[in-house]
Symmetry: C2
Subunit: 335 residues, 2 copies
C-alpha cells in the first residue's frame, strides 16, 4: 500500500526519472513514442505525483488561496464554484480561508498561509479586496494577487469585476421602459464601493431619460432585509410615493416586498420592485421581483483564470454583465 512514485513509473516505462518528469510537465523534447509509453505507465500504476515534492523541488505549488470575509453564503458558494472549476481544469487545488477582517491576527494568518503553503497565487473577495493592510502584506510576499470587485486602487493588482454602474443603469432603464416615472432607490451599505456604483448607474439612467434625479427618492440601506423594510416604509409613506423601487441587493428587495405586503400594496401590479440578485435569495422566495444577476460564478472563474493562465479563453458569453478582467503578467503558466 505504499506510495507509487515517479521511480516506479520510470521503471515500468523503462526510461529515466527525468523523462517521466518531462512528460508530467509537458516539456518539449520528448519523443512521441517515449511519451506514450510513460503515459501508459502512469495510467497503469494510477500514479499521482506528490504535490509536496513538486512544491519543494520546483517553484510552483499548484495551490491557490481564496480568502474571504463575506457574510453572504450565496456569494461564497458561487465564488468557490467558479474558482474550483477553473482549478480542476488545470489540476490546481483551492485552499479556502474564511477570515475576519477585524481580527487582530489576520495579517499573520494570511502571511502564514502564503508562506507555509507556498501558494502560486491568491484571490481576495470584497471587502478584503480593499484592505490596504492585507494587500500590503501580500505584496511584500511577491505573490500574484487577483482582487474581485476592488473598489479602490483599481490598477494596483489584477482584478475581476462586473460593471455595477452599467448594470444599475440597465435596470433603471428597464423600469423606465415599463412606464415608471418616480423610481425609488434603496442604497447599499455606506462603506462599499458597489453601493456608490449602483447609485451612480441609477442616477445616470434617470438623467439620460430626462426624468431628473430626486434625492428624496433615495433611501439609505445596509444590504440587509431589515434596512429594506425600513427604507420601503419611508418611501411608501411619501406624499407622492414611487411606483417602482430599485433595491441595491436582493435582501433589501425582500425587505421592500415585505413592507409592501404589510401595507397591502400589490406587487408587481401597484409597485414594481427590482433588485440585484447577489444571493439568489429573492428569486427563490419572491418571483414578482425583477433582478439583475450578478455573475459571481463567472467572477470566480475569471479570477482563478488570471492566476492559472489562459485568460483569453474565458467564456464571456456566460455573463449577465460583462466582466472587467485585468490581467497581470506575473501569472504562472498552466501546469
Amino acid at each position: 500500500m505504499s506510495r507509487v512514485t515517479i521511480k516506479d513509473v520510470s521503471k515500468a516505462a523503462r526510461v529515466s526519472i527525468k523523462t517521466v518528469s518531462r512528460v508530467l510537465n509537458k516539456e518539449r523534447y520528448v519523443s512521441e513514442e517515449t511519451r506514450i509509453r510513460v503515459e501508459e505507465a502512469v495510467a497503469q500504476l494510477n500514479y499521482h505525483p506528490s504535490l509536496a515534492a513538486r512544491t519543494l523541488a520546483g517553484h510552483r505549488s499548484f495551490q491557490i488561496g481564496l480568502i474571504h470575509d463575506n457574510p453572504s453564503p450565496f456569494y461564497i458558494y458561487n465564488m468557490q464554484a467558479g474558482v474550483g472549476q477553473r482549478c480542476r481544469e488545470s489540476g490546481y487545488r483551492m485552499i479556502v480561508q474564511p477570515c475576519d477582517i477585524a481580527a487582530p491576527g489576520l495579517l499573520g494568518d494570511i502571511g502564514a498561509l502564503v508562506d507555509q503553503v507556498q501558494l502560486d497565487g491568491i484571490i481576495v473577495t470584497p471587502p478584503v479586496s480593499d484592505s490596504v493592510e492585507v494587500l500590503a502584506e501580500l505584496e511584500r510576499r511577491r505573490i500574484p494577487i487577483v482582487r474581485v470587485q476592488p473598489g479602490t486602487d483599481l490598477t494596483a493588482t489584477s482584478a475581476a469585476s462586473i460593471d455595477n454602474v452599467q448594470a444599475a443603469d440597465d435596470m433603471t432603464s428597464y423600469l423606465i421602459s415599463l412606464g415608471h416615472r418616480r423610481i425609488g432607490f434603496v442604497s447599499g451599505h455606506a462603506g462599499y464601493a458597489a453601493s456608490t456604483q449602483r447609485l451612480t448607474g441609477y442616477r445616470q439612467a434617470l438623467l439620460r431619460a430626462g426624468l431628473g434625479y430626486d434625492a428624496a427618492l433615495v433611501a439609505p440601506g445596509r444590504f440587509d432585509f431589515q434596512s429594506g423594510v425600513e427604507a420601503a416604509e419611508a418611501l411608501l409613506a411619501m406624499d407622492h410615493p414611487p411606483t417602482a423601487i430599485f433595491a441595491s441587493s436582493d435582501e433589501i428587495a425582500a425587505g421592500v416586498l415585505a413592507a409592501a405586503h404589510r401595507k397591502g400594496i400589490a406587487v408587481p401590479r401597484d409597485l414594481s420592485v427590482a433588485g440585484f440578485d447577489d444571493n439568489d435569495l429573492a428569486q427563490v422566495v419572491w418571483p414578482p421581483l425583477t433582478t439583475i444577476r450578478q455573475p459571481v460564478h463567472a467572477l470566480g472563474y475569471a479570477a482563478a483564470d488570471l492566476l492559472i493562465g489562459a485568460a483569453d479563453r474565458i467564456e464571456r458569453r456566460l455573463l449577465a454583465h460583462e466582466l472587467i478582467v485585468r490581467g497581470s503578467t506575473s501569472a504562472p503558466d498552466e501546469g
Copy 2:
C-alpha cells in the same frame, strides 16, 4: 526576498536544525531556555515552516479535505466556517473540493486529491457521505474519513450527526403543546436519510401524545420552495385542514407560508408553520416561522475535530440539538 528556512532559525538561535524542529513539533526533551531562544528566533525572523517539506519528510501534510456536492449555499458556508475554525486552531489547512456526485471522473478526482496532497483526513458531507463508491475509493487509500450526517452504514466510519428524529419529535411536541391536534407534515426529498428521520420523529411525537398518525396529513416535498407551495395547497384544501404544518426544511416552509398568504390565511394566528432551519433562510425573510436550528457550523467543527484530535473539547453547549459524534482511533494527533 528568499525564503526563511529552518536553517536560518537554527543559526539565529545558535542550536541545531533538529532542535528547532523539536520546538516546532512540541516534542519533549527541549530545555526551557533553548525553547524560548528558538521561539524568539522564529518570531524575529517571521519564520513559517514549509508545509511541502514537512509533508515530504514526515507523515503528515497538515491538510484536510472537505468534499461536497450540496446545493445549499448556507449549508456549505456554515460547514466551512466550522471546519475552518477547527483547522485554524491547529494550523491545518482546509482544501475544499466541490464535486458532482454524478460526474464520471468523480472517483478519479477524489483519488487524485488524496494522493497528490497526501491529505491527513477527509470530510464528506451529504449526499456524498452515503456514496458507497466514494467511500470505497477513500477506504482503499487508508485515509481517515469523517462522514457528516451519514444515512447508511452508520458505524462504517467516524461521523458527526445530529439526531433528526429527536429534533422532529421535539418540534412536533412543541406544536402539540400549543394546542394543535391536526398537524400537517411536508416531507423532504425521497432519497435522503434526513427525510425519513424527520418523518419518524413527527410520527413518534404524535403517537406518544395519543393523537394518532394520519397519512393524509403527510404531503411529499422535495426540500425546495415550490414543493412547499404545492404541498401546502393540497393540505389546506382538505375538508379538515391542519391548524399547523411542519415543514422538513426552511425552503419548504417558505413555500408553505407563500401558499398560506395566497389563500389569505394569517400566519401564525390561523396557521402555525414550523420548519427545520437548514439554510437560515426562513428566519431572515419570515419571522413568523418557528424553526429548529440545524447546527451545521458545529457539525463542521466536530467533523474536523475528529480528524485533528481532541474530540473531547467540543463545545456541546453551542448546539441546538445534541451532536452525535463518533470517533475512530485512526485520527492523527494534533500538530
